[in-house]
Amino acid sequence: MTTAELIAADSGTTILIKALLVFVFCVVLTLMSVWGERRLVGRMQERPGPNRVGPFGLIQALADGVKLALKEDLIPAAADKIVFILAPIISATTCFMSFAVIPITGEVSLFGQKTAMQLTDLPVGVLYVLAIASVGVYGIVLAGWSSGSTYPLLGGLRSSAQVISYEVAMGLSLVAVFIYAGSMSTSDIVAAQSTWWYGVVLFPSFAIYAISMVGETNRAPFDLAEAEGELVGGFHTEYSSLKFALFFLAEYVNIIAVSALATTLFLGGYHAPPGLGFTEAWLGGWFTGIWFFSKVLVFFFVFVWLRGTLPRLRYDQFMQFGWKILIPVSILWILVVATLRTLSLEGAPRIVVIGFASFVVLLVMAANIGFENAKKKKLESLEVEVSEPTFAVPTVPMNVSNINVSQSSKGGDHV
């Protein structure tokens, strides 16, 4: 029995319970992840991190949430009131919706009824997630536009451009998965990965997805829409109180959502890692949920790790990266995958498939070398044109022992 059929048999109560569980799961995971992020970043910077509120500071995020809820709610005079209020609501609701199609466990029994922890199974589940994510971005864009001040406006503009370009890359990276799985339903894709994870088979797709999911969620090093150094708070500069809390919530739920999607599409979903398949029957199938969690948490850790390590990209560099690298590479990769898939489906001999694959690898290497050479040449030919100044520029008489650090190795006299 496929998951879709399992879920179709759910009674009304089961659906309600599952919906509640998914919601609670999201909220709890968000609270924990806010705390977890601050603790993890703290450890990376050799400091303890929040540890006073509750055991190990566990309810730190809850305190933040309650405090925000108790704060005064400000609406700036220059703001467009309706849109200003609507924006955080759009952000916060849509981020939860994508969880409806994520398969969290395999077959489990819920109060004696056989089901799977997945709210619904759409035949176009992944497309649904992408669509919902795009709607969520409206929250950010509208927030920036309606605040009536320059920083949020710039943040909102950046965000809309960012999401448009990274959604393209993200969508393209998923095409390979669809081709291989032969389906757009999340549960079918998980089922298709029971032997090989797509993260291994379709590694380039996985890498592109992983990069664009960071861009999609506005996280470091792609946190341009917030960019504290330049735009203060970006789109949420003018937000306070509960409305800000909703954005805060949405950001973390989004991280969990894209991580969950990545787990589903590339890391075998709720399936145990290879060799540990026997654990899947434990606890009546609920153990598969633990595998799912652990994979999501690995992604979450990577998110935190990136934030602790990398500076922010500049806006134009970020767009260049998206349009000039991620998207062309995705398209090429889809061509390759489609060809390989067709070849193997048509029953071409194995040698042809391998030959084609190695031909592509060689081609990529050659292109890379050519590209590097071109870059070097470009660097060499790049002469800065300096107009002669009309006044005296000091000539350097100095016999000072100096080290020119931009010319790599050491010079000067170390007496």
């Binding site: 330049e230 500076p311 922010r312 990209l313 806006y315 100095m398 100096n402 080290i403 931009s406």
Partner: protein, 445 residues
Amino acid sequence: MSVFDPYAPSRDTTEGTVYSVTGGDWDSLVQEIGSTKEERVVVNMGPQHPSPHGVLRLVLELEGETVTEARAGIGYLHTGIEKNMEYRSWTQGTTFVTRMDYLSPLFNETAYCLAVEKLLGITQDVPERASVIRVMMMELNRISSHMVALGTGALELGAISPMFFAFREREIVLDIFEMISGLRMNMAYVRPGGVQQDLPEGAIPKIREAVKLMRKNFKDNTTLLVGNSIWMKRTQGIGYLDLAGCTTLGITGPVLRSTGLPWDLRKMQPYCGYEDYNFDVITADTCDVYGRFLIRMNELEQSLRIIEQALDKLEKLEGAPVMVADKKIAWPAQLAMGGDGLGNSLNHIREIMGTSMESLIHHFKLVTEGFHVPAGQVYAAIESPRGELGAQVVSDGGTKPYRMHFREPSFNNLQATPAMSEGGMVADIIGAVASIDPVMGGVDR
């Protein structure tokens, strides 16, 4: 405004029209400006903004993300230190100057004291041990100052961790300052004629240990930033300012050295005995933010070299005086902790109270009135972490400065902001300003 208006006159300059506004003529003025200019996005960064170091205000005119015009507004931290010093004695002056550029207090003090000593004509009489201590303290200070520059610079470009590693190093240096002077910042440790007090017992081995530790730790930030392709992309070719630009704008320090000119006053016009130390001037010829950060990173190592040589000298000069011999200038307090945990050395108090009336009078006069400084004016310049820090001092022969003026490197260097950032992106301004490393306390004084 064609008709001359006595209340709001305007004149046209190369920077645009300058209006003098008094009272309630704002409305007419705004109307006039509004009717002539086309619509544009003007972003007002600061004076309270997370990035531009402290209370700097940047007014940016944007076209999309590109900055077409950038103007810096300063004065939000103007403290009137120069004026206030005219009402205090020469010794009290160090207490004020130390609070100017709060990231490099010892440089302010040394520049001021060198100028006062020049006025007094005792430059040659300052004991060698005092000069060596000054050099050591200044180089430690250079490390702590560069650390803040690197940490905040990285933070402004979006990398949070380097900040924490930088402050870890800074704490090591501040601990040494606290051990020597009793204060972490604003220590007023350098005084005209020498330094406030000698190193405490066991200071030298402790500093040696700290130097070793720092040498090991410096790698952390370098590896986090240099070689990180995002950081390189954000810094290379950004904030370009070549030698011609630097000289015409009077820019000194790491920004000047990033054009390849090895101009460092420690080498070119040595003071405090810098000619006796072996070290290299760090330059780069990239003229950009990357080069400036690289210079700062490498100057740390040179500072450690100087500190080690200073420590060797100090060991040889054990027990030597740290204040000029002239009792008319030397602050009479031989500072030491009394039995009550407060105050002055008991021996000193016993002497002035018990044995010598003249000592008491002398102490009283010197502490309340201060010493007289012969009339004249001098300019003393030193190489602070940000460039040439010059103290322009005028004396009228009295016990207080007649006029104090500081030529602050940050004040001057900040003028390069438009030249470095116009035509770039919004995010580049942050990097360019961070590479100048302005400290607003110094800019506004």
